[in-house]
Point group: C2
Chain length 213, copies 2
DNA sequence: TGCCAATGTTAACGTTGTCAACACATCTTT
DNA sequence: AAAGATGTGTTGACAACGTTAACATTGGCA
């Protein structure tokens, strides 16, 4: 039909790559305007399409949030991967931990989405599920590597990884809530201290598990 | 001087104790219908008043959420207090930890609100701020008690408390997201394992901090 | 070529947060 | 006790959002 529009790039009626564009818009809105801006209408606007267009790609708001969160998990994993590669040869766990926490602090809205209520459970959003547990797998690999180097004692690496992840996530979450300020330390210092505790414990020499029973 | 008005029986026009009633309704809605149900109009409906009535007591939606969250922190603190009293004489930290996690798992929507994005920072909601840091104080007291008993080594109790809180919060948060399932352990087992790690560390005997540098 | 499924648009509905204008109730002051 | 004054609740409205139905356009395929 009549070329009502001669686009410089191949975008007229059919966008061609709308789903990705919407997710990208979502990440952008999250970064620039915060959590509340991640709306279906918002991403549609940002992508220059009509309000109902996203429904061709996302069943509902949850699905959009899920897709954005999934992207977030990928970015997080990539950040950790970069950290690992950077200090190759070294133990690397410290680097992973710092990368994790840094990612959370630098992308507060995105991080919140990734662990937000909207995503919870329900078993739909299977992709997200998989990507999310990828983080756990990553930490677990780090643990196993350390075990191989005998820097960490024997034990179920999965459990240890979950414990470590709990610590990291908890620290980020509390920091994002401004709830670490009472300690008087920076998040970086807190991370160092907490990591040390996870490595060597808080109990003084001589106190063994059986003392506490 | 406006002496504290005594909450009378619910009157026709003036409710008498609407603010509390709204917060109670909020807790109720949270428990029965979940996060999305905690709306200004919803609590108004539940309290039997008009849609705009809450605005006489809460500046906006955030303020309502803040008030509900504050109540949540009080309930959490109370749950921990009960746990402490129950196993009086014993070290008690285990009890506190279990009480904390149990509270989170049994009140998922409320717990999420308490650490939700809506509340973050901003320094308004000063009451909430205070109540929230009460939790930290509580954990800190536990630490100090354990230090007195020499079951925990010397060190800044505030930092240790923050580390412990991070661990507890992280575990609850991951569990609420269903992200602990990969470990194959129950949350209770994970808590026990994680607590053990925080006490005695993951490093095998012989590996000291200077090995890792 | 002609048709169809995928993709995008417009228009509407119900719900929510929020505000302004108003009504009633309780307290204070005279 | 009468008359404000001030707090508290109501009604009605608006914009934004999620969601759906009905319609339009396109690209690919038979």
């Amino acid at each position: 039909m009549a070329a009502k529009r001669r686009p410089k790039i191949t975008r007229a009626y059919h966008h061609g790559d709308l789903k990705d564009a919407l997710v990208r818009s979502g990440l952008d809105l999250l970064r620039t305007e915060g959590l509340a801006a991640l709306t279906l209408r918002g991403v549609a606007r940002a992508a220059g399409v009509s309000q109902a267009a996203p429904y061709r790609h996302f069943a509902d708001h949850r699905a959009l949030v899920g897709a954005v969160a999934e992207q977030g998990f990928m970015l997080l994993q990539e950040a950790m991967l970069v950290a690992v590669r950077r200090d190759t040869g070294r133990m690397g766990f410290k680097g992973i931990a710092i990368a994790y926490v840094t990612f959370g602090l630098e992308n507060p809205a995105l991080y919140r989405i990734m662990f937000g209520a909207e995503i919870t459970r329900e078993a739909d959003l299977p992709d997200l599920r998989r990507t999310g547990s990828g983080v756990l797998g990553f930490v677990r690999q780090g643990i196993e590597e350390l075990q191989r180097q005998s820097l960490i004692g024997p034990g179920d690496a999965g459990v240890m990884a979950t414990a470590l992840w709990s610590m990291l996530h908890g620290l980020v979450a509390l920091a994002l809530d401004g709830q670490t300020e009472g300690s008087g330390l920076s998040v970086a210092e807190l991370l160092a201290e907490t990591t040390r505790i996870m490595m060597f414990g808080m109990a003084p020499r001589g106190v063994t598990p059986d003392v506490i029973a």
